[in-house]
């Protein structure tokens, strides 16, 4: 029930965004994340944008090693 659907904001009108979900467009409330702008990627849950999605690069794994556990992990683990 905690499903969040990712989509791209195509239009903002006041407190409502029009979000594109793989070709299907729906309205979502911006009451919880008012700073959303056109072009942002967002997660929508029960009709509300709950967060902006940040770019995540494909090869994140190795970077996580470095960031969380120090560089030796990336070589040795």
């Amino acid at each position: 029930m905690c499903l969040g659907i990712p989509g791209k904001v195509v239009r903002v009108e006041g407190e409502v965004a029009e979000v594109d979900f793989w070709g299907v467009r729906k309205k979502a409330s911006l009451l919880l994340v008012p700073e959303v702008k056109e072009g942002d990627y967002v997660l929508v849950h029960v009709g509300f944008v709950i967060t902006k999605l940040e770019q995540q690069e494909a090869q994140e794994t190795i970077k996580l090693f470095e960031e969380f556990f120090g560089e030796e992990a990336a070589d040795g683990a």
Binding site: M1, C2, G4, H45, V46, F48, Q56, T61
Partner: protein, 364 residues
């Protein structure tokens, strides 16, 4: 931007790393029902080495809502001027042989919406109806309900009420750990609850119980990465709350959403199916919002607990003490088309997931 993470090469690499780190059997709990479904559907369960035991936790709102609270909603729906509005998942939960779906078929005004705002719209469109939104859900959903109540207040809507059966996740995790019945080596923490609350509310898992925990996304690669992060913490003797799902979760959470919840709701002791009463684990409307509180508007008393259906192991399944196929009703008398307990009703319930993806015998 990548919305789906499905690179098979990366999955292979992660699996190799996971295998390299395994020194013996480990048991992790995925708290969230959406993770349970994702783990089955993606085939992760079948891919992982058998020493990794993933068990489902209490993170399915429909499953943990006690039957007496559903019964109370059903009784409200029998009032001629009431429209009882809720999320679709709840419709089929049987209480004493009947469900909201049955009531609807018999002519009660029960409606399904995708958003609490839709319920408010119904109230605006149909001023002669008293519209009761039966709210179940966790921290992910509570801000949407809070925003809707604030909207009802702003527009001075007099025929819209919330019957809150909402629950909070960190107190349930604490109750499981303090109960000490289920032995765990770490937690796969819910991604979308954490979008709202951030990582600090889980800090006790690391500090007090010395267990690693990882806030995790819902793509197969997210789950693999999270398992690897748990194993890596174990290897290093660490117990921290880390965020794997960084594209969506900020460490501090969504502060605005939290402040709306705080404005409208307060935490109260609440009963969970299978787990009993957990301190400060439920949300009720604050006194300042009495006008929109169904409990006050309809003079509802705290409901008497209703015993579980005979033979149903849902309670033990929700605590990670039993796997669905260990229930004697599973797949025989209890199936998704005629469920006995809520874990078979909700599409996110562990029993439904085992049945759908593991076959009738649950051997996934």
């Amino acid at each position: 931007m990548e919305l789906k993470r499905e690179d098979p090469e990366e999955a292979k690499e992660l699996l190799e790393r996971i295998k390299g780190l395994l020194k013996g059997p480990v048991r992790f709990m995925e708290v969230c029902g959406t993770h349970t479904v994702s783990i089955f559907r993606s085939g992760i369960k079948a891919m992982l080495p058998p020493q990794i035991d993933l068990i489902s936790g209490p993170g399915c709102p429909v499953c943990v809502t006690p039957p007496e609270e559903i019964k109370r909603a059903m009784e409200l729906a029998l009032n001629g001027d009431v429209a009882l509005v809720t999320f679709g998942d709840l419709m089929k939960v049987p209480v004493g042989g009947k469900s909201l779906e049955h009531l609807k078929a018999e002519g009660a005004d029960v409606r399904v919406v995708l958003s609490p705002l839709d319920a408010l719209q119904i109230a605006l469109r149909e001023p002669k109806k008293r519209v009761v939104f039966f709210a179940v859900g966790f921290e992910t959903t509570a801000p949407a309900v809070a925003a809707t109540v604030l909207e009802a207040k702003r527009q001075a809507v007099k025929n819209f009420f919330v019957l809150s059966a909402q629950r909070l996740i960190p107190p349930a995790i604490r109750a499981l750990l303090e109960g000490g019945k289920v032995l765990l080596d770490g937690f796969i923490l819910p991604g979308h609850v954490s979008v709202i609350i951030g990582k600090e509310p889980y800090g006790f898992i690391a500090r007090e119980f010395r267990l690693p925990a990882v806030i995790t996304g819902f793509e197969p690669l997210d789950v693999l990465e999270s398992i690897w992060m748990l194993l890596e913490q174990r290897r290093r003797g660490l117990s921290q709350v880390l965020i794997q799902y960084r594209r969506a979760v900020r460490p501090e959470g969504n502060l605005r959403a939290c402040s709306l919840v705080e404005e409208v709701f307060c935490a109260v002791d609440a009963r969970w199916r299978g787990l009993g009463v957990i301190p400060q684990s439920g949300l009720k409307l604050r006194k300042g919002f009495s006008l929109w509180d169904a409990e006050r508007a309809f003079g509802l008393l705290p409901p008497e607990p209703i015993p579980e259906p005979a033979g149903c192991s849902c309670g033990e399944v929700l605590q990670g003490l039993k796997k669905p196929p260990q229930c004697k009703l599973f797949g025989k008398v209890c199936t998704p088309s005629s469920p006995i307990g809520p874990c078979m009703v909700s599409s996110e319930g562990s029993c439904a997931a085992y049945y759908k993806y593991g076959g009738k015998d649950g051997q996934g």
